[in-house]
């Protein structure tokens, strides 16, 4: 609880600093824009959070978004059916998740290696599939999913709220959710208590893949176009959001609410850099520093906890 307050205070501080230094920060348009951006990051980071809770990781989420968006967009344009396109994105996203899960559970590869290999494999397939083309121009009804408003609030924010609710119910009130935490906290103890480790690990990687597929559809609707490289800049921010949110890389500790706060914090930083007219090439650098700081705090917290035991 104390850590949550600390994180909210960090957001408030960044917000206050930006309100003073820029004129356009504290406007309704910009704040809604920040929330919309944050909800897109949250979509990707939410699935990732589950894998991190099991002491795993999914480095392929960004590349998954890229390929799923390109496939969904192509299907949508060639068949004219929004539903078919969206289904394609979701199915491929989840399918990539299944492959990740199998590499982790059957081949027993360390998750970061398996999903890192998947990242570059997907990138290659996406570039080959697109052949340098851009697809753009989707039906207005579909675009509303990414850029539309309902009751004055951007549509992705409702999606974020719905997912947060579903995720909190899953982690707090279902046995499956508890088992995910148990695997991350102590895999051997979980196994001895009868938790089906492989099935639950497969589940979290499928969830991560499916969320990437869903994010792909929302991105497609937001950008109204798809190219091979749209997923590339998404991975590091998603990981940063999870880690800033206090989910421990060592597994068993964390929450989706934390990830939401992490996504908000990161989006505020990026939004602030944009408003202060700082060149976009600084963004990977800043995100890199934030990732390292977040993990460092994680490591220190863990050490202190171990010392008190």
């Amino acid at each position: 609880m104390k850590r949550l307050v600390f994180r909210l205070a960090a957001i408030a501080t960044i917000g206050a600093a930006l309100s003073v230094t820029t004129e356009s920060f504290l406007t309704l348009t910009n704040l809604l824009n920040v929330l919309r951006q944050a909800s897109l990051t949250f979509l990707i980071a939410s699935g990732l959070t589950f894998t991190v809770l099991t002491a795993g990781l999914d480095l392929s989420v960004g590349a998954n978004v890229g390929l799923s968006a390109c496939l969904a967009g192509t299907v949508m344009q060639s068949t004219g059916s929004v539903a078919l396109g969206a289904a394609t994105g979701l199915v491929f996203g989840a399918g990539i998740g299944i492959l990740n899960g199998l590499m982790v559970t059957l081949l027993r590869l360390p998750p970061f290696i398996a999903t890192y290999g998947m990242l570059w494999t997907l990138n290659g397939v996406t570039y080959w599939f697109m052949g340098g083309d851009t697809i753009h121009g989707f039906p207005a009804g579909f675009r509303a999913l990414g850029s539309g408003y309902w009751l004055g609030v951007p549509v992705p924010i409702y999606l974020m709220a719905a997912l947060l609710f579903a995720g909190v119910v899953f982690t707090r009130y279902t046995t499956h959710g508890h088992e995910v935490f148990a695997i991350g906290a102590n895999r051997e103890a979980a196994r001895l208590s009868g938790v089906p480790i492989r099935a639950r690990l497969n589940l979290v990687y499928v969830l991560s893949g499916a969320m990437a597929g869903l994010a792909a559809i929302v991105y497609l609707a937001r950008l109204n176009s798809a190219e091979a490289d749209i997923g590339e800049p998404l991975t590091l921010p998603a990981i940063a959001a999870v880690l800033i949110g206090g989910t421990s890389l060592f597994g068993g500790v964390g929450s989706l609410l934390g990830t939401l706060i992490g996504a908000l914090t990161l989006t505020l930083v990026v939004n602030g850099m944009n408003l202060l007219a700082i060149d976009a090439s600084w963004q990977p650098l800043v995100t890199g520093v934030i990732v390292i700081l977040a993990v460092w705090i994680d490591v220190m917290t863990r050490r202190r906890a171990e010392a008190t035991i």
């Binding site: 290999g117 990242l119 570059w120 494999t121 290659g124 996406t126 990981i239 520093v289 990732v291």
Partner: protein, 312 residues
């Protein structure tokens, strides 16, 4: 008995397939091509072997290589001498390696995240320095060096061979090799024996950074220019080569010879797919598939080999 890693068979199979189906694959010129194309990768894969044997990982190598290349090209463009620019490029690599080492060993941050963070930093710096543009006009000295043929062999092959020999000698004939295995396998015993394990552990990452700097010399020489994203993702090829070469993430098992075979396999695969006119984007994907195939072969062969060994 020293078993041939499963990938040895795969390499032979690949060579046979490409010889049969790709005209112009099995020629001396193309053999040299594969060697030249593989040399930069070997420079990364050799230290990556040590990093992985120490139960670590360095995801920043490709980005650090790109950054070192950009620094090298920028200095050359501004009229600095080749030796000075080279030292600066290698120093950039060493600095990032040292930072990785401090984060992993000093602060205890898991290596894949620590180096993912420095990847972002190196990539960001390269973009900031160049504004996202290529750095051209690097003068004649570096391309001339790259085109030179010491001992009648292409320069990059000579460098790669020399690097392999130095690594192998250091690994086999100095305590460093034993320490590297022990850091991954049994760190406690090393510390109890009075070895400053932390120093050697940081040293492995510094070495990785230095080699990324050296690789930047070859890559920049080959392209006669520097580009901020020139080697992004190359660390994946290096990791794949190490895994394919039979080095394991657990218990400090692995060999530099296996890594050479892994690098050659990836080189042959890429080159063969080129000859067969498969698009380069799919070649990237094929390396991922190759790694999985190698792991499956290894996991099938290994228990079988152990059973044979026991019954004998």
């Amino acid at each position: 008995m020293r078993s041939i890693p499963g990938i040895g068979y795969l390499l032979i199979a690949l060579v046979l397939v490409f010889t049969a189906f790709g005209s112009g694959f099995a020629t001396v010129t193309n053999g040299f091509n594969i060697g030249v194309q593989s040399s930069v990768l070997l420079l990364l894969a050799l230290p990556m072997t040590l990093v992985i044997m120490s139960e670590g990982l360095d995801l920043s190598m490709g980005a650090v290589l790109s950054l070192a290349g950009v620094v090298l090209a920028t200095l050359l463009m501004n009229g600095r001498s080749l030796p000075a620019a080279s030292v600066a490029a290698i120093a950039v690599g060493a600095l990032f390696g040292f930072a990785n080492g401090l984060l992993v060993v000093g602060l205890g941050i898991p290596p894949f995240v620590a180096t993912l963070g420095t990847l972002g930093i190196a990539q960001g710096l390269a973009l900031v320095i160049t504004g996202g543009q290529s750095v051209v006009g690097v003068g004649d000295a570096l391309p001339a060096l790259y085109e030179s043929r010491p001992l009648g062999l292409p320069f990059s092959i000579v460098i790669a061979l020399a690097a392999f020999l130095v690594f192998r000698f250091t690994f086999r004939h100095t305590p460093f090799g034993a320490y590297v295995s022990a850091i991954g396998g049994n760190r406690e015993s090393l510390v109890l024996a009075g070895v400053k394990a932390n120093r050697y552990h940081v040293g492995i990452y510094v070495l990785a950074g230095v080699m990324a700097g050296v690789a930047a010399l070859l890559l920049t020489g080959r392209m006669s220019s520097g580009h901020p994203t020139a080697a992004i993702g190359m660390e994946f090829d290096a990791i794949a080569a190490v895994i394919v070469g039979g080095t394991s993430f657990e218990r400090g098992k692995g060999s530099l010879g296996g890594t050479v075979i892994g690098v050659l396999t990836i080189g042959v695969l890429k080159n063969g797919l080129n000859v067969l006119e498969v698009p380069s984007s799919l070649q990237v994907a094929s390396i991922g598939v190759l790694t999985i195939v190698a792991l499956v072969i290894e996991s099938i062969l290994e228990p079988a080999a152990r059973r044979l060994w026991r019954s004998a």
